[in-house]
């Protein structure tokens, strides 16, 4: 029986030395779900997101993509790594990530940034990659800047190029790691608008965010992490309007000020 979940991360545990950052966090996304991970800094939400594509190696847990488990084996240091590098690369190509600091490749133009994984990872021809890059760059509204280098783009433009790069992979899940936290306040809106449009297309997204209005209006589920565990989860309206736990009440009182 096929799994109803696109991405199912089960019981993810992560230690940095003796500090337990994640103490068994599970998140499962069905097709079209937009899951917002919220929590104060140090709650482990970014670490959790980075465990999903193994940029961070968890110490325990399971990751399934469309029912297929990522084969993991423990290393000498106790953290898990992929037992089959080729399987990990395939997984990563199906899970696209958008970073807080954009992480565009500085020596490539905006267009080349979008094309690069298409040709080197997905094996598209240059012609196909150019066409696809053009499509997604115009979708995020930066096609007029396609020949510019990242350093010559504004933060908002850079992040939209990064979203185009992720979209162009036509992934099954998109991970967003605080995509607006490094932006000047006046640039946050343009990126959130693009993310909202992406969500409305029915794409599956897991978003670590501090933007409560985005979580409230766009997400299908909000997960509140605190000290490495899921303190509370539920539909956004309910969870954000009537927080049950004291921690979430305190968190919301501080962020909504």
């Amino acid at each position: 029986m096929a799994s109803p979940y696109v991405l199912n991360a089960d019981n993810i545990t992560k230690r940095f030395g003796s500090v337990e950052v994640l103490r068994g966090v599970s998140v499962a996304a069905k097709p079209g779900d937009v899951i917002a991970l919220i929590g104060s800094s140090g709650s482990g939400k970014s670490t959790f997101l980075r465990c999903l594509n193994l940029l961070e190696r968890p110490n325990a847990g399971q990751i399934q993509l469309k029912g297929e488990s990522l084969a993991l084996k423990p290393d000498r240091d106790g953290a898990l790594s992929a037992s089959d590098p080729a399987q990990l690369r395939k997984f990563r190509a199906r899970i696209a990530m958008v970073f807080q600091h954009f992480n565009l490749w500085a020596h490539m133009s905006a267009e080349k940034n979008v094309m690069e994984p298409l040709t080197t990872v997905l094996g598209l021809t240059r012609g196909e990659a150019t066409e696809r890059a053009g499509h997604y760059l115009s979708k995020v509204g930066v096609s007029h800047r396609k020949d510019a280098y990242p350093a010559h783009l504004s933060g908002g433009e850079q992040q939209r190029v990064a979203i185009a790069r992720a979209l162009a992979m036509e992934p099954e899940v998109m991970l967003f790691d605080e995509p607006t936290s490094a932006l000047d306040p006046e640039l946050v809106g343009e990126v959130l608008r693009v993310m909202r449009a992406v969500a409305e297309e029915g794409r599956t997204m897991i978003v670590v965010t501090h933007e409560m209005s985005f979580a409230r209006e766009v997400s299908s589920e909000v997960v509140f992490l605190s000290k490495g565990i899921v303190e509370e989860r539920g539909p956004p309206q309910e969870l954000l309007s009537r927080p049950r736990t004291e921690r979430l009440q305190g968190f919301l009182a501080n962020t909504l000020k």
């Binding site: 990990l88 696209a96 992480n103």
Partner: protein, 245 residues
């Protein structure tokens, strides 16, 4: 007074010496660049069995003068029976080969460190981005790390190339008739300092500026992506200043 007839008379010799200097520089730099790219990748490897030997090599070579290295190759290797009685002797009895060998060994060490430094300075986020889309380690190096590091290494590598050009003068100590050797011969024959060494200094000076210019052009294209785009904004600012005056 400068004796122009001596300079004019020895000009063909200087031009022949120029050929030797440029030839030696070209083959040494080419070998150095070719070897230092894989060595730099090894140098930044997380596996100590791969990175330590390269570290040791660059440490030893950078810790000794090029002149000493050349003497060891040219005079020292000839003392080893094994070298004398093997096919290697055909190579190491040749001054050209010895100079090329020592210079390549030397510039490879410096260039390796330059490229390794640039590789290490790659922003970590760019590596994570490459990993996150599923790039293999080979693609990561071939498409992201090396193209970006080699560009950023250009200014430092330009210095290394100019330094190496000046260092080729050392080849004159092992019978090669390069620019410096020609100058010494002119001095020995005519006992004139300015005509001999002044002329060769001008040759080196012109060569240096040609090389520096070449690298300026390379940097202009290679480092476009890091340059602040000021052309338009400076015009706008200077326009604004004009008005306030």
């Amino acid at each position: 007074m400068i004796d122009w007839s001596i300079i004019a008379g020895s000009l063909p010799d200087f031009l022949a010496g120029l050929k030797v200097t440029l030839g030696l520089l070209a083959i040494s730099l080419a070998t150095g660049l070719l070897l230092s790219v894989p060595l730099a990748v090894a140098r930044v490897s997380s596996n100590p069995w791969v990175s330590r030997p390269v570290w040791l090599y660059t440490y030893v070579i950078r810790g000794t003068p090029l002149l000493v290295q050349l003497f060891i190759v040219y005079y020292g290797f000839a003392q080893i029976d094994f070298v004398r009685h093997s096919a290697l002797w055909d190579l190491f009895k040749n001054a050209w080969f010895c100079a090329w060998f020592a210079f390549a060994l030397n510039t490879t060490a410096y260039t390796t460190e330059i490229i390794a430094g640039a590789l290490k300075a790659t922003p970590h986020g760019e590596i994570e981005a490459a990993r996150s889309v599923g790039m293999s380690s080979f693609s990561l190096y071939a498409r992201i790390l090396l193209p970006s590091a080699l560009r950023r290494a250009l200014p430092q590598y330009g210095n290394e190339a100019v330094g190496m050009m000046h260092a080729t003068a050392i080849a004159s100590t092992v019978t090669l008739v390069d620019l410096t050797r020609v100058a010494r011969d002119v001095y020995a024959n005519h006992l004139v300092t300015v005509e001999a060494f002044g002329t060769v200094a001008i040759f080196y000076f012109v060569l240096t500026f040609a090389l520096v210019g070449l690298f300026k052009v390379a940097e202009h294209y290679g480092l476009r992506h890091l340059r602040a785009q000021t052309e338009r904004s400076t015009v706008a600012i200077s326009g604004a200043e004009m008005k306030t005056k």
